[in-house]
């Protein structure tokens, strides 16, 4: 039996109110002031995970920098798995988005003359990372949210949890959501839908992500027939706090922080990132400013060699900021100082901070074309949930916040335009589709199962970390995938103990677990099948090197009702940068010289 539900009509529906969702909603509202934009989020917008971003957002501003430099850094950082037309569009539009945010009031850190300041970031050749101290994501999110309040055609539905997309006749025309406060189900019908639901870092155990980062949107789109792409590429950030996983921004290293092993040695010079740069004189793309995948891998090796520092919360290396001095730390990295104090009891002005790699970012996501359009008509995706082809096999820090803005805007405009050209929805078929989905939801909530969701969640996160971490092995990955498949079978027997309706977080986390398990399977299968090493996907078995002949391709995954994802590949769009070896430090300099480039 299906329970009754209310229907809400809108022209454009934006799911997710983080950076990407808010930017989309504003763009849609501006593009067509007559359109009703429904902005749905499972948390209040300012709680969205974008709030956690610390370091900054990339956009070329300096006279001695160029869009071509940003392009090259992004493409080589992504180990040539980036779609180069997308990277071009991105670099051309990133800076104007930073300026747009400035006009909306974002408190960017400034130089003495009042122009916006930029800082160094890993893998970026020239300083181009705009920042607001070390709370960049917080300020971007609050600026966007507050700005969005002036558009009367944006209708917010805060704390509504979306469960399933409504697709009829090959067109996406709505979404089913639970109003968290009441437990009631609402069906949203619209002419164009934007997914901006963020990443899926919570599939892994030790991560820098907030509790809400559970890949719901990716899973929803996948189940509705959209394609997930490059899901095997999961980024480890080299510097999370042991225990909690709380992020210590790359901005620390941009400001001059150094990484030491237990012998006080700057070990990165042993991993193709040297020679050692003088303390207090960081150099772009050298040492601590190498890309994230390389730094995380170096940690792994140091740990094997016994060079890491054992702490009560696990092995770590030391991030030393002491030479920056208290004044600069408090000005540039105030939040880092407070996080270190609270979560590991350390004053970074006096002592180095213990750090270790933690899962941070999902490069893959819902496949879209350069206009953010997915496989399904009327369905668009932007932000971390999407795979537009920007990040390739490894995202560069500060490209993601910029991505939210650049492609969030595109998605909003595209959706508004699409909506204006659609006939009204066919309510009857949509509602009968919705009824079936609602019945499934109710059945899950009421079923008397034997499995506890929290237990399954812990097991999943541990299995993924073990088999799909910084380095991967064929047989370990197979075991990991088997475990995930068993957990998926057990999930069918899950029991939601809490039968109340109001703010039933047990039910919601059970749904989130369902999404995570779906994505874990896709990540595991994609990884197992990619028989090479590239960017964040590094194997230690027979496939230790990059194989452009076979795998200079995106992995595609389609849902199949039998529970086994359907694998396919597609070409990468290469316009002008042919794959070469990724080189950093002195080797990178050498490569540049040989090519006569800069």
């Amino acid at each position: 039996m299906s329970e009754a539900f209310e229907t809400v009509h809108a022209d454009v529906i934006v799911i997710g109110a983080g950076g990407a969702g808010l930017r989309s909603a504003i763009a849609a509202a501006q593009a067509n002031p007559a359109a009703k934009v429904a902005l749905i989020s499972k948390v209040y917008p300012m709680r969205s995970h974008t709030v956690c971003a610390e370091g900054g957002a990339a956009g070329v501003v300096q006279a001695h920098d160029s869009l071509e430099n940003h392009f090259n850094d992004t493409v080589s950082g992504g180990d040539w798995l980036c779609d180069q037309d997308v990277v071009d569009y991105f670099t051309h539009h990133a800076t104007e988005e930073m300026v747009q945010l400035e006009h909306w009031g974002c408190p960017w850190s400034r130089k003495e003359d009042g122009s916006a300041a930029v800082r160094r970031f890993g893998g970026m050749k020239i300083e181009r990372t705009w920042y607001a101290a070390d709370k960049t994501g917080f300020h971007i999110l609050h600026t966007l949210f507050q700005t969005s309040l002036q558009y009367p055609n944006i209708h917010r539905f805060d704390e509504f949890f979306c469960t399933d997309l409504i697709v009829d006749d090959g067109r996406c025309q709505g979404v089913i959501a639970i109003e968290i406060k009441t437990g009631d189900i609402k069906v949203f019908l619209g002419k164009a839908i934007v997914l901006a639901t963020g990443g899926a870092g919570r599939v892994f155990r030790f991560n820098t992500n907030g509790a809400i980062v559970t890949g719901d949107g990716m899973s929803m789109a996948y189940r509705a027939g959209a394609v997930l792409r490059d899901m095997e590429f999961v980024q480890y950030h080299p510097t999370g706090l042991p225990g909690s996983g709380v992020l210590i921004t790359e901005g620390c290293r941009g400001e001059g922080g150094i990484l030491l092993n237990r012998h006080g040695y700057r070990y990165l010079q042993d991993y193709g990132l040297g020679p050692e740069t003088p303390i207090g004189k960081p150099e772009n793309k050298y040492m601590e400013l190498g890309p994230r995948d390389k730094l995380s891998q170096a940690f792994w090796h140091e740990q094997r060699k016994g060079n890491t520092v054992p702490t009560p919360l696990g092995d770590a290396v030391m991030l030393d900021l002491t030479h920056l001095g208290e004044a600069k730390l408090l000005q540039r990295l105030p939040m880092i100082c407070s996080l270190a104090r609270h979560y590991v009891g350390i004053d970074p002005a006096k002592e180095p901070i213990p750090v270790r790699p933690a899962v941070h970012y999902t490069m893959g996501g819902i496949r879209t074309d350069i206009h953010t359009q997915t496989e399904i008509a009327g369905l668009y995706a932007a932000g971390e949930c999407s795979s537009i082809g920007l990040h390739g096999a490894n995202r560069l820090g500060s490209n993601s916040l910029a991505e939210l803005l650049v492609f969030g805007k595109v998605a909003g405009e595209q959706a508004a335009d699409h909506a204006s050209r659609q006939p009204p929805c066919n309510n009857d078929t949509l509602l009968s589709f919705a009824k079936d989905k609602v019945a499934e939801l109710t059945a899950l909530r009421e079923q008397k199962g034997t499995e506890k969701a929290s237990r399954l969640r812990h097991e999943m996160a541990a299995a993924m970390e073990k088999a799909f971490g910084i380095y991967r092995l064929g047989d370990e990955m197979q075991t990991g995938l088997d475990t995930i498949n068993e957990l998926r079978a057990r999930y069918k027997q899950v029991n939601v103990e809490d039968q109340s309706r109001v703010f039933n977080t047990e039910f919601l986390t059970t749904l989130e677990l369902g999404s995570c398990l779906e994505l874990a399977q896709v990540m595991a299968t994609s990884a197992l099948q990619r028989k090479e090493s590239r960017g964040a996907h590094q194997r230690l078995d027979d496939y230790k090197t990059r194989d452009d002949e076979k795998y200079l391709r995106h992995t595609l995954m389609r849902y199949s009702p039998d529970g086994k994802p359907i694998l396919d590949y597609e070409a990468v769009n290469i316009t002008r940068s042919q794959p070469k070896e990724r080189a950093y430090g002195a080797a990178g300099e050498q490569q540049n010289k040989q090519e006569g480039g800069s």
Partner: protein, 278 residues
């Protein structure tokens, strides 16, 4: 034994001991409970655990029906405000070790309606936030651009012109007030808000002040009505507890005092100047 808390508990379980600690948590599920009551939970004492880790342990291992909001677990999303022994704090930034071995009383933020357990009703705050027009109001952008409410065309031109200049000094005039994470601890601390739920309150006024102080903004007059009406700044009797509990050193009390001064000056000027010049 390993002790699972959040998914991030490290594999080498944090310095655990056989010791335990008691949490007394206010429980209320509408439709199930007729009124809020305290429930006791005995949990292992782990020195590194935040209150959020402790609640996570209870939810995963002891009672899955316990509800509370959280996400970032790094004191920036503003979700996890609650009362610990009567003091409003962020659960993710409050640690068991600061209470051990005493039992800890956990309640939802004071002065708000309870939706369930530790979850409070934030809707009225969102309305207050909106009422102070917390966005850049720019005289230029509001000039008739031919497009009602959507200065998109105008924006395109100004974006080309690049960013506004704002010196570090000008930024410092409002920077602190832009740090508010909307955690609502200050509302829980405010006796005036307790008495008068219509009071605009510390965070909303701080945000209005943040924009009023921004050299790019020209919206002081637009925000004045909300700030100067009866339930605006004048409801504040300067208790100052809001600033004490604020986890982000926003100092809402000082924002309120400064807006009172601005309001008083505006009011005085309104008598001196002919109407159109206000």
């Amino acid at each position: 034994m390993t002790i699972p808390a959040t998914d991030n508990t490290s594999e080498t379980a944090p310095s655990k001991s056989e010791a335990g600690i008691t949490l007394e948590i206010l429980r209320y599920i509408p439709g199930t409970h007729s009124e809020p009551t305290f429930q006791r939970f005995e949990i292992p004492y782990v020195e590194d655990w935040s209150m959020l880790d402790a609640l996570g342990y209870i939810k995963d291992e002891l009672d899955s029906s316990l509800s509370y909001r959280w996400s970032c677990r790094m004191a920036v999303c503003g979700s996890c405000g609650m009362m610990f022994d009567g003091v409003p704090k962020l659960a993710c930034e409050t640690f068991l070790r600061d209470y051990y071995p005493r039992p800890i009383r956990v309640e939802p933020l004071e002065n708000f309606g309870i939706e369930r357990d530790l979850v409070i009703d934030q809707e009225p705050f969102l309305e207050k936030l909106e009422s102070v027009k917390p966005y850049i109001i720019d005289a230029m952008a509001n000039a008739p651009s031919g497009k009602p409410g959507a200065p998109a065309g105008h924006e395109r031109e100004t974006i080309q012109a690049g960013e506004n200049r704002q010196t570090p000094k000008e930024l410092a005039l409002f920077d602190q007030y832009s740090m508010c994470i909307n955690c609502l601890l200050c509302y829980s601390a405010c006796p005036q808000f307790g008495l008068n739920p219509a009071f605009l309150g510390p965070a909303a006024i701080s945000l209005a002040h943040r924009y009023n102080q921004d050299n790019r903004d020209q919206g002081n007059a637009d925000r004045a009505p909300a700030l100067n009406e009866e339930d605006g700044v004048w409801s504040c009797t300067f208790v100052g507890y809001c600033s004490e509990v604020c986890p982000k050193s926003v100092d809402p009390a000082s924002a309120i005092q400064q807006e009172k001064v601005r309001g008083a000056t505006d009011w005085a000027l309104s008598w001196l100047l002919p109407k159109g010049a206000r």
